[in-house]
């Protein structure tokens, strides 16, 4: 298989304009003849469904939650980047592009990332026009803050609820199109299979999560906006329902999966405190603007933090990375926190935590000012831990947060299956091996508002789409496969619960395919996952019946897919014989323990093709070509 990314020729800055001009248009009157399925209603999905409907396409939108307003984009706290240069501090499209490419450790495509930076400003304009209440200065203009991995202030925010406000903006645009009859909304539906007709993506089989009915939906194209796979780790900052099923099904139907081992471990999360724990909570990275990260100088110093004088503290990020300090990118911050804890300097009962201290910021700016910036985050922290961060430093530890890998897409955001588009976190395209803070919201909305409305037209204009019905054999057989699998899950009636298996899988991935990996551990993880998977299919206990609201059954299906997908993550991690960004193989590091890339042999996208049950996936390579930036050792010192 030849992977053609379809990056337009010409100078970087002109590629997108040129491409938009070259894409064939669909006459407004003809747009209403096309039907588009959009799965997921987060920033990418909500924005795509609304924008496509505004153009005249007939959209069917699906979400797993009870309403499209709850997708997990809502939980993003810190902000959204845009190269507006409102602060006059030297920002530009080029700088945002460069920071993102460098932040991703040179494992993303120049063309895609440049386009992302180009449309970033439009996103802010769009959101303000929708009534998103961004933070403002006294003069009435928009406020900005700085964020990890950047030396300019380009992050727009709405208190600590930026994701919520942007999502509600997209939801409002979607609601308007639902009212206009251009979007048919299907809530509480889970995509169970993708249906291909003549090799083109033409529909879905979904399960109605209230009644258990298996429904079939046909369309002219399918757009997956189904998020990331961080819940493979069981404990992550993702919402409980986030899963890989939709993407994995597309993979099984022939879409390649790119860079599955690129996962982001976010440095500032509330540490794990018990085995019953169901999820981890992120504390926005914006806290690192004012909070200082430290551990005790001496191993085993268990004094309470207020008893540890300045001279006995090690502000390790400021010490090791003087120019970026506490604002180093996430992968660097996470790995350093782990390193300190591995040295035995970790804080708290478990020793798996570092301090994030606001003492100096409070004495510099006053409690009110700090409260204005982070009040709701402090409050959230206190609710969970019963500690007050105004008085006692926070304790934080890295947690799985985001996945850079995803379904392979070309410049048009189309996967290797014609008519299957993939947007937002579900695709792999823009963040390389590490995502910078405040860039996920930017990418989701860029894909949904400003890319897919153009590229989907180009696909329709250049493609023959024969008439289909949902009673034809492709739909019937997909629906049967889904029902059979459901029956199989319900009939096992073993001795272990779904969560029990999920927790064990998460433990394996965290231990061997987490912040630091090595060949021995990865090889072991593969065997462990395989045997856990066999046990799952013999010993899982799924109560209840299929034609009902059955949350155990929902989870069982998702965990079954994680048990297969987890192995793919490990396979990809083993194959990438270098360290870069979120993928840190201990066998490949510099003398200073930084990630050591191998640009000669691994400057590529690893795209995996499903080869059938029990068979090793087939590897495909998309070489990454850098014509505009020079590959350098990423340094934040």
């Amino acid at each position: 298989m030849h992977l053609d990314a379809k990056i337009p020729g010409g100078p970087l800055a002109d590629k997108w304009d040129k491409h938009k001009f070259e894409l064939k248009l669909i006459n407004p009157a003809n747009k209403r003849k096309f039907e588009v399925i959009v799965v997921g209603t987060g920033l990418a999905g909500g924005a795509a469904a609304a924008s496509l409907a505004e153009l005249g396409y007939n959209v069917k939108s699906f979400c797993i939650q009870d309403t499209p307003r709850r997708a997990h984009s809502i939980a993003a706290q810190g902000g959204i980047n845009a190269s507006k240069n409102y602060q006059n501090d030297g920002d530009s499209v080029w700088r945002l592009f460069y920071d993102t490419i460098k932040g991703g450790d040179f494992r993303a495509r120049e063309g895609n990332v440049y386009r992302l930076a180009q449309v970033s400003g439009n996103i802010i304009d769009q959101c303000v026009a929708q009534g998103v209440p961004f933070a403002r200065e006294y003069g009435g203009l928009l406020a900005n803050r700085s964020f990890g991995g950047a030396q300019v202030s380009r992050t727009f925010y709405a208190r600590g609820q930026t994701g919520q406000q942007l999502l509600l903006g997209a939801y409002s645009a979607l609601s308007r199109q639902i009212a206009a009859g251009k979007v048919q909304m299907f809530s509480r539906r889970e995509m169970m299979d993708l249906v291909l007709v003549n090799g083109q993506a033409r529909g879905l089989v979904v399960r109605n999560l209230v009644t258990g009915e298996i429904e079939r939906h046909g369309a002219d194209a399918v757009v997956l906006c189904t998020g990331g796979y961080a819940n493979a780790f069981f404990l992550s900052t993702n919402a409980m329902a986030c899963n890989v099923t939709a993407n994995y099904r597309a993979y099984q139907k022939g879409a390649l999966f790119a860079n599955p081992c690129f996962t982001q471990i976010h440095p500032t999360c509330i540490p794990v405190h018990g085995t019953y724990q169901s999820k981890l909570t992120l504390m926005s990275e914006s806290l690192r603007n004012d909070g200082r990260v430290w551990v005790p100088q001496t191993v085993g110093d268990k004094r309470s933090p207020d008893q540890i004088p300045e001279s006995d503290r090690d502000y390790f990020l400021e010490r090791k990375y003087p120019s970026f300090g506490n604002l180093v990118p996430r992968d660097v911050a996470s790995r350093n926190a782990k390193e300190q804890c591995d040295l035995g300097k970790g804080a708290g009962e478990t020793g798996l935590a570092v301090y994030l201290d606001f003492r100096d910021a409070i004495s510099r700016d006053g409690k009110d000012m700090i409260g204005q910036k982070y009040g709701n985050l402090f409050q959230m922290y206190e609710k969970i831990t019963a500690d007050n961060p105004y008085e006692k430093p926070m304790m934080i530890y890295p947690a799985v947060h985001y996945t850079m890998g995803g379904l392979w897409v070309d410049y048009n955001l189309m996967s290797t299956i014609p008519g299957l588009f993939v947007l937002g976190e579900a695709n792999f395209s823009d963040h390389g091996a590490n995502r910078l803070g405040a860039s996920a919201l930017m990418q989701g909305l860029a894909d949904g508002y400003f890319v897919i409305p153009y590229t989907i037209g180009g696909y329709f204009a250049g493609t023959q789409l024969p008439k289909i019905t949902t009673s034809q054999s492709e739909f019937t057989s997909a629906a049967r496969t889904v029902s059979d699998r459901t029956q199989r899950l319900l009939s096992i009636n073993g001795k272990r619960t779904v969560d029990d298996f999920h927790r064990e899988l998460g433990g394996i991935l965290w231990e061997y395919c987490g912040m630091a990996r090595n060949d021995e551990g990865l090889t072991k993880a593969r065997t462990l996952i395989q045997s856990l998977r066999s046990e799952f299919w013999e010993n899982v206990k799924v109560p209840g019946v299929d034609m009902d609201l059955n949350q155990s059954l929902e989870r069982a299906g998702r965990v079954a897919d994680f048990l297969e997908f987890g192995e793919l993550m490990v396979i990809d991690a083993l194959a990438r014989r270098e360290s870069c960004g979120g993928h840190f193989n201990e066998g490949f590091q510099t003398e200073e323990n930084e990630a050591l890339r191998d640009d000669d042999n691994f400057c590529h996208v690893a795209a995996w093709e499903y080869a059938g049950e029990g068979k090793d996936p087939q590897f495909h390579k998309e070489p990454l070509v850098f014509e505009n930036v020079k590959l350098t050792q990423r340094s934040y010192k």
Binding site: A50, D66, T67, R69, R70, H72, I74, K84, Y86, G121, N122, I124, D125, Q126, A129, Q130, G131, P133, A135, R136, Y138, G140, L141, A158, R159, Q161, G163, Y171, S172, A173, S175, R176, A179, S187, V210, T237, A239, M240, A241, H273, G274, Y276, S278, K279, T281, Q379, K383, I384, A386, Y449, F450, P453, T497, D500, K541, P543, G544, D548, L549, S552
Partner: protein
Amino acid sequence: MTKTINLTLKVWRQQSATIKGGFETYHASNISTDMSFLEMLDVVNEQLTLDCREPIAFDHDCREGICGQCGSVINGRPHGPEKGTTLCQLHMRHFNDGDTIAIEPFRAKAFKVLKDLVVDRSALDKIIQAGGYVSVNTGGTPDANAIPVPKEIAEKAMDAAACIGCGACVASCPNASAMLFVGAKVSQLALLPQGKPEAARRVTFMVQTMDELGFGNCSNERECEAECPKEISITNIARMNREFFKAGLFSSTR
């Protein structure tokens, strides 16, 4: 400090919207006080599963207090006893060993029970669809800094926009009114210059839809404000009423 407690739960179980439900009693033993309320329910559900009984169905997703999907009535209070806290952020340290806890779904004419603690809140979506938006298409919007918005106005709009659409306001109101939910959205958009052109139309249609869907009226009980996990103020209801009267008096919408 971590300690464990034992609890008796009286949980509303209902097979479906059409089958009558009732309370059943369960024991939750050795519950760590660091657990969240939903983690406590997870523990109970794991045991029910192993005992070959059907686990309790409840809605939840982000478990960090922002998605608005969770919510049950705990000892008569939506989202439980802690002020400004969603159920997923309520921790067991607020309960004592030996407590009996009653857990029921949000109840309102407009919210049908689907199963156990899971209710249908799609009526809230319908209200937003009636006008809870600014009618702008993607693209062609002016530069974000073209229209300055005074900081205090932006802050007030943000206060209102913090609503997570959980429906606790409806569940807490003796009239099952959605005035706080509607007031919050109307206020956010009426305060901002971007929302003003449609303000009259918006409030008129949203209020009309709210009435049609079977939500009650506001009689100033203030329960909604007390139970709102995001502490949305009832001044938003007052603002909505002003907007509504203004629309009636000066607008051609009606």
